[in-house]
């Protein structure tokens, strides 16, 4: 049974950023967000094949100030076809993985393309569907090489360092999101195994959190994982359409289904579109979840404030939690209460 708790003791809802638009300020099926230099946020919209012009990275800040877009569909410099994961390095450069072109794109803080690296294949150092990415404490890039069912670590310029996660207890199955703890340990959203796998900095498997299911401490196709300075683990439990928080030992803390409100960009849209704003004000966008047969996908489709397609979770330096939702074209932001 799906937990539908929305009141949070551990996390407090802050606000929502985003709006679904085809171009410019807003998103179209966003899948990840990188928090770069000077608080600038970069969210990549995967868009979809017949609408490749809508694929882009949108730059903005916590106050919803918009700085422009960059990137686009293709195979050239600064282009991607299936962007999936994002990470910013210490200089503020933004790295974007591309599952179709099998490579990592690098952009400046301002969105200027710098270079890309990566080649398709199954050998060490080659990629088959690079998904989530994250920098470790030595500024090496950890990549979820999802169709090769492993994690690979590269230097920033793409030199292969190591691979792991494809044997024994730590054997991964289509991993998606990754993050790195303060001790350089690597956490992996082990998507098809319904768990979070943890490795030490040399790639040795340490332990796994969670089992298959939708109860407390259980996961269904987790997509993203983040760890804060105290070791709390935040998981976008994608198949259950929720955010799950565990403590550093894997003990369950709480679950959130989402509390989105109207974003600043959406508010501005409604100010100029009374024809939509007026009937919306008379609508019920929070129907009883019980009528959807216990299917979290349908519950989230109908209840607008719920997470729908939460594909990534990130934490900024001040401890804010950012959940990117592909199916709602927005980012929900939370803060810790303690």
């Amino acid at each position: 049974m799906t937990t539908t708790q929305t009141k949070s003791a551990f996390l407090k809802y802050s606000h929502t950023i985003g709006i679904c638009v085809m171009d410019g300020r807003g998103f179209m099926f966003p899948v990840d967000t990188a928090i770069g230099k000077e608080g600038r946020m970069h969210t990549v919209s995967r868009a979809y094949v017949p609408a490749t012009a809508q694929l882009r990275i949108t730059m903005y800040d916590i106050d919803s100030e918009y700085f422009g877009i960059y990137g686009g569909y293709g195979e050239g410099l600064g282009e991607f076809r299936w962007p999936t994961g994002m990470a910013a390095d210490a200089e503020g450069n933004v790295y974007v993985s591309d599952e179709q072109n099998n490579r990592i794109n690098i952009f400046s803080h301002e969105g200027d393309p710098i270079k890309h690296w990566g080649a398709a294949g199954t050998n060490e150092g080659q990629l088959m569907g690079p998904s989530g990415i994250a920098f470790d404490n030595e500024q090496n890039l950890v990549v979820a090489d999802h169709l090769n069912n492993r994690i690979q670590k590269f230097s920033k310029d793409g030199t292969f360092i190591m691979s792991f996660g494809n044997s024994g207890e730590g054997d991964l199955k289509m991993p998606w999101g990754v993050c790195v703890g303060e001790d350089n340990s690597v956490y992996v959203a082990d998507w098809a195994n319904d768990r979070i796998a943890k490795y030490d900095s040399s790639g040795s498997f340490l332990r796994a959190f969670g089992t298959s299911g939708s109860g407390d401490g259980e996961f269904k196709n987790p997509s993203g994982v983040a760890v804060d300075g105290e070791g709390y683990i935040y998981v976008t439990d994608w198949g259950n359409e929720r955010l799950v928080i565990l403590d550093k030992d894997g003990n369950f803390i709480e679950t959130l289904r989402g509390q989105a409100t109207i974003s600043k960009w959406a508010d501005e849209y409604f100010e100029g579109n009374y024809e939509e704003a007026e009937p919306r004000s008379r609508s019920n966008l929070e129907p009883d979840a019980g009528q959807f047969g216990g299917d979290p996908h349908e519950e989230s489709a109908h209840i607008e404030k719920f997470f729908w397609g939460p594909t990534s979770v990130k934490i900024d330096d001040s401890g804010r939690i950012y959940v990117t939702e592909s199916n709602r074209h927005r980012v929900q932001i939370y803060k810790r209460t303690r």
Binding site: P50, E276, H297, G309
Partner: protein, 481 residues
């Protein structure tokens, strides 16, 4: 020409009609089960959720949301080419054509996808339950304006089409019956109807993508007064109207004729049915009896149909023209291009549109006219190119497998005729006319098949066989079902 046993021909016929064709490998597997059991297995397979939706949604957020025809259509095409429960998808195609609902007015892919999911779940069940689901289906409520059907101010659109196109057919009810039927469905609406209508008109995706729709009964907008419908009197609501509709012999005839039209042989377009008798009245009578005997059960009607002599008769083999979706399903299942979801499914969905069938967007409430109307100059070229291009493409795993099977039969050489017969067999025991068969042999001969040393030059052999496959895909019998 190799003589194909009647059992093989019959099983291949069933798999073309109940599914999307078969390769020799699949055919052999079904033959080992036996015809009657295969029919029962196809109908009784209640698991309509075998597709790995999580995998699709991970790669394609647009297919998770299905906010437009591209995502929703691509998702359905992926199901057609990857399901191991083909009759479920086939019955969804059937009802999608009978209860034709179009994106042009709905302007939201999710309710359309929800409707198809309902067809998969209930399309092989009882007609009265299906019509009840249909009457509560949000896409249908918008498509035929029941959202504007109010107590004291009826909108007849849904009431009319329920009788004319969805159950009884023209000539079996009066204009007054339409009005009374419409009164009974007042208040059958959707939640947030004013907002949804506005969003649909503006095709708006803001602020957070298109809204999901859900049925809502508005009791205070329902006309609870007495109605007279098909000679009966009562304070009918929609449920009673559907019950009365399903009791009518005209409904049995109409549904039987649709099933015959879809699964057995092309009938004339539906608008001419009031004026033209069914081509096989005996078959229709058998189906009508099955309709009443089973309590209006569509699955039971189809079971009777597939096990009947009129379906098994070779006189109806290859008498239907595959719809573009059926053709694409057949080709792409054979090529195995979509073992896992990939970015090309959207392009293939566009190709189905170019062949004349945009999934989730039929041309009108009458659906697509089938039969020869699938074939016109432009669409025929697209169909032939589509089948030839994909089945002749050695980069596709399914094509490589079939070509390998043909080579394995060759020894050190193979005559042109042997090669053609092997290709026809591998593509699902396709039977051609003598003229077509001889033409294919001529092509294979000119292509140098018989000159190849199959042991020494497997690459050339594979290339040449794939070229024969490409031509086989263009023959009329491959385009037919």
């Amino acid at each position: 020409m190799v003589t194909t046993s009647p059992n093989i021909k019959l099983m291949a016929h069933l798999l073309r009609r109940a599914g999307f064709g078969s390769t020799k490998e699949q055919l052999d597997e079904y033959l080992s089960v036996g015809y009657e059991k295969v029919v029962d297995g196809l109908i009784d397979d209640l698991d309509s959720s075998r597709i790995n939706d999580a995998l699709v949604r991970r790669y394609f957020p647009d297919q998770s949301v299905t906010h437009d025809t591209s995502g929703a259509g691509s998702y359905w095409l992926y199901r057609l080419v990857s399901t191991d429960s083909p009759l479920r998808e086939k019955i969804a195609l059937f009802w999608h054509n009978v209860f034709a609902t179009g994106y042009t007015k709905v302007t939201n892919g999710k309710p359309m996808s929800d409707q198809l999911r309902m067809f998969r779940s209930h399309g092989l069940g009882k007609l009265d339950e299906l019509l009840l689901k249909l009457s509560k289906d949000p896409a249908m409520i918008i498509w035929l304006d029941n959202v504007d059907n109010h107590d004291g101010a009826i909108n007849e659109n849904y009431g009319r089409e329920l009788l004319e196109l969805f159950s009884m057919g023209v000539g079996n009810y009066s204009e007054d019956d339409i009005k009374e039927c419409s009164r009974a469905f007042t208040g059958w609406s959707i939640a947030n109807s004013d907002y949804i209508k506005e969003l649909a008109i503006r095709n708006s995706i803001m602020p957070y993508g298109k809204l999901a729709w859900r049925y809502e009964y508005k009791e205070d907008d329902h006309d609870d007064g007495e109605k007279t419908f098909l000679g009966r009197k009562g304070n009918f609501n929609g449920e009673e109207i559907i019950k009365i509709i399903c009791e009518q012999p005209a409904t049995a005839r109409f549904i039987s004729r649709h099933l015959y039209h879809f699964f057995v042989a092309d009938e004339p377009p539906v608008p001419s049915w009031p004026y033209k008798d069914p081509q096989d009245m005996g078959a229709i009578s058998i189906l009508e009896k099955a309709y009443f005997d089973s309590g209006y059960d569509i699955g039971e009607m189809i079971r009777v149909l597939f096990k009947s002599d009129f379906f098994k008769s070779e006189t109806c083999h290859y008498k239907k023209i595959k719809s573009p979706a059926e053709l694409a399903g057949n080709v792409l299942r054979t090529t195995e291009e979509f073992g896992t979801p990939n970015i090309r499914i959207s392009e293939r969905n566009s190709q189905v549109t170019f062949m004349g069938q945009q999934l989730l967007n039929p041309p009108s409430v009458e659906g697509w006219h089938q039969g020869l109307e699938w074939i016109e100059t432009g669409s025929l070229t697209e169909r032939v190119n589509f089948a030839s291009q994909h089945l002749g493409d050695l980069s596709k795993p399914g094509v490589r497998k079939i070509v390998g099977n043909v080579i394995a039969q060759a020894g050190d050489s193979m005559s042109a005729e042997e090669c053609v017969d092997q290709c026809l067999s591998q593509l699902g025991a396709i039977q051609t006319s003598d003229y077509i068969h001889n033409t294919l042999i001529e092509f294979a001969e000119e292509n140098g098949i018989s000159d190849i040393d199959f042991l020494k030059d497997k690459n050339t052999a594979a290339q040449k066989i794939s070229e024969v496959m490409s031509v086989v895909a263009s023959v009329p019998e491959f385009q037919q079902s």
